[in-house]
Amino acid sequence: MTNYQNETITKTTVTPLDDTPDWTFDLLGQYQQEIARVADFYRLDTYTNQIEVITAEQMMDAYASVGMPIGYSHWTFGKKFIQTEQTYKRGQMGLAYEIVINSSPCISYLMEENTLTMQALVMAHACYGHNSFFKGNYLFKSWTDASSIIDYLLFAKNYISQCEQKYGISEVESTLDACHALMSHGVDRYKRPQKISLDEELKRQSERAEYLQSQVNALWRTVPKKEQQENEKKYKFPKEPQENILYFIEKNAPLLQPWQREIVRIVRKISQYFYPQKQTQVMNEGWACFWHYTILNHLYDEGLVTDKFMLEFLHSHTNVVAQPEYNSKYYSGINPYALGFNMFIDIRRICEHPTEEDKEYFPEIAGSNWVDTVHFAMENFKDESFISQYLSPKLIRDFKLFHIHDDSDNNYVEIGAIHNEQGYKKVRHNLANQYNLSNLEVNIQIVDANIDGDRALTLRYTPHNGVELGNSKDEVLKHLYYLWHFDVKIIQEDSDGEDKVIACCPQKKEDD
């Protein structure tokens, strides 16, 4: 049964691999072996792969838990499962062919229903493409710790289920709801974080710290009133605006139970774990598509896969990287697979066959070694910077990108730039901005907690380009109030430069 190993090692025989539609574990092994060899040839550095074969239903489970292999129980996951199941059953949506988890070993799921060709595609895509991205990209390196995430998720699941037993499902659910509402505000954007999970000892230490913190909170209550009045407004707390709302809550909410603090922390940690994925969607998918395309073509050139295999593969591949145009009924924004894949292909083209234009736009990479160049690009960028660095005029022309400027003060929208000489840089700049997380997510920070007075929490919303805060703000504020227990309000500077309260909880009946 180990014949195939000898075959690949000696590489003398070039009998193509079996291309029957039905896969077996033996065949998967053979393909995996070949893909691994080619990936190694292109210097893809990966975590060990753990490839799990699952059914469609299990795939929906995995979907529902937003890609966490071990998720705690919460109704939103149930809702997602029901939604996925329905769209799948109605045939509105095919399931993704794979899910891959940023962990070490890197877990990828193969769906049982896939043909052998699809499994090979998925292995090249997930087990070598995504996997090497997780290991190499600077954001993942600095924000996540792949080796301990599974342990941490397991800890989280168990901890939350213990809390449910001790304090009741409803209490835990409310706490989680509140945390989820603030989940995207649980990350330090401007500060490099600690590794997501500390080992056991550090965890204990942090628990002690939290205990101490809770004692400190208790002390506040005993501070004599007189002194309080004297000290009023002498100092401001927090000293600087805090963008990490969940962290602030975890450390400073006066009446939170210790277990609630831990839950806040869990949600915060998980939010942090997913933070790099939000910022590298185009790159990550592009990188994976680029490599499944390159690796399988390499195998084809060696004669290891058949024409039949390639036709099926190209059919799926083309579907994945298709970009509908803006007036198509299938259009739903720019397809990150298409953009990312074409950018990496384009980088390779610029390296191998640069035109005069490329030499002008990309003097430092035109004609360089393409493997070095794509690795450098993968390692050191996120979507925003990747696009502003590498989107070439040729690609802008190929995609026929155009920029729309929409100012709500006008009753028209304006075409800001199109795919011509004058427009390239502007299109590129705006497309890059479109992936800038700090433009996409609202800028809301805690500016005052008034700990000496009524402990009212004040948040400041700073609009980006004059965009209003979405109208779910009151609902979110209710959740924040649940965690903070005292008045919370959001202020925003109005056109006269004066702060105006735009939302508060509990709502006051004030008529201005």
């Binding site: 299990q58 109704w75 939103t76 499962f81 329905q86 720019i334 109208n471």
Partner: protein, 425 residues
């Protein structure tokens, strides 16, 4: 380097807990949806679950996000007609200048409601939550007529087909060990002696021979202990256990005289559906008997029961008599759980009402688990109601309710079967 793991056989329903959480959270909405949907069903159509609709805005998970207004720059692919500086009228989308700040949520435009299916099991659980069959415990035990054979240990006698081989061989080993132990001890001693003699410098031929002969004879004796003996045999033992019968029959009695119009029948039908569904939670097999009556009663099928039109006067006792006859003929009350449900608009020939009371009290109620009467009318009660009220006072397994509109049905049904409130009036 890669490991393949086959997870296909792992537990499938990883999301079950989350699903239960979801149902739990939206119980009230789901319940509402369930009780509305009850109006659309056929009587015995219970194999399906139910489609539940929840308004999408109730399900939203709020986050801080960007709203309207301001300047937005977007890049799109596939330019086919635009040049820089083109101005295009804004697509009509009703964007106001900034959302009203006091409104909690005004985004209710055209969002699809969240629709999903719940299983039959979940559906029935929600529909009949907090309801129970009255008096079930009390009379459960008098009607233990069916038996089922269950294993009950082992015995030393029995028929050959019931031999338990493992137990028998265990017995055999035990017996053989017990019967040969002293001989084995002797044998061991003799063998040690023999060994001593062999190791001895002298020949000791005679002693050796004697010893060897003794050893032989003991070995023979040991071998003679039979491998298996009738004493070893063990037989599987069975016992009969009484089980409550799981068969039920439900009698639907309805007045189809001229005064009952189609709308009234529809209401009665809903009630029967509920009763049927409810019974199906307790009983595996349910027969449904439809009896309709005007001046004469007749057993009919479901369709005829609900949809054929008759005219004439009303003699309710005819239906009760027919029910009683059918019970004696086909449904021995020892083997069947008998439920009756009578629907009427209250019209009855005045002289007949005492007779109804009598049949119920003497014939039907003693055999039935439960008999319910619903009167669907907008008018004042007539004689039948008054006589039935007397029945209700003296019997705990009789209940009556008055229904005026469709909306009353589900509440009335819940009233009938509410837990622990069957105060014997």
């Amino acid at each position: 380097m890669a490991n393949f793991i086959d997870r296909r056989l792992n537990s499938k329903n990883k999301s079950t807990v989350n699903r239960q959480r979801f149902l739990r959270r939206y119980k009230n909405q789901i319940k509402k949806s369930v009780s509305e949907a009850i109006n659309k069903r056929g009587v015995t159509d219970i194999d399906s679950g139910e489609s539940i609709v929840i308004p999408n805005k109730d399900l939203s998970e709020p986050t801080f996000h960007q709203g309207d207004g301001g300047i937005k720059d977007r890049v799109h692919p596939g330019n086919d007609q635009f040049s820089t500086g083109d101005r295009i009228p804004r697509p009509p989308k009703g964007q106001g200048q900034g959302a009203g700040q006091g409104d909690a949520s005004d985004s209710g435009e055209g969002e699809d409601d969240f629709t999903f299916s719940i299983s039959k099991e979940e559906y029935l659980n929600l529909l009949f939550e907090d309801l129970e069959l009255p008096n079930l415990e009390k009379n459960q035990l008098d009607k233990l007529i069916e038996y089922k054979t269950v294993r009950s240990g082992y015995c030393a006698e029995g028929v050959a087909s019931n031999i338990d081989i493992v137990k028998s061989l265990q017995g055999s080993i035990a017996r053989r060990i017990a019967m040969t132990s002293s001989k084995r001890k002797q044998l061991k001693m003799l063998e040690e002696e023999l060994l001593a003699l062999i190791n001895d410098k002298h020949d000791n031929i005679k002693q050796k021979r004697e010893l060897m002969a003794k050893i032989e004879s003991i070995k023979e004796k040991i071998a003679k202990v039979p491998f298996i003996d009738t004493f070893d045999l063990r037989f599987r033992n069975y016992a009969k256990q009484a089980v409550p019968t799981s068969k039920a029959v439900m009698f639907c009695l309805m007045d189809v005289s001229g005064s009952m119009d189609q709308a009234t029948k529809e209401m009665a039908k809903r009630f029967y559906i509920l009763l049927y569904l409810f019974l199906s939670r307790t009983y595996k097999n349910i027969d449904v008997i439809y009896i309709r009556h005007h001046t004469q009663a007749k057993e009919v099928d479901e369709h005829e029961f609900f949809y054929s039109q008759e005219t004439g006067g009303t003699i309710a006792s005819s239906a009760l008599e027919l029910m009683n006859d059918i019970i004696s003929e086909r449904y021995n009350d020892n083997q069947w759980n008998i439920y009756g449900a009578q629907a009427s608009d209250g019209d009855n020939w005045a002289d007949d009402s005492p007779r109804c009371q009598e049949i119920l009290e003497n014939q039907i109620l003693p055999k039935s688990r439960y008999f319910s009467y619903i009167e669907i009318t907008q008018r004042a009660h007539q004689t039948l109601w008054k006589h039935y009220q007397q029945v209700e006072e003296s019997h705990t397994n009789f209940a009556m309710q008055h229904i005026k509109t469709v909306a009353d049905i589900y509440p009335v049904f819940r009233e009938f079967f509410k837990k622990n409130t069957q105060s014997a009036a």
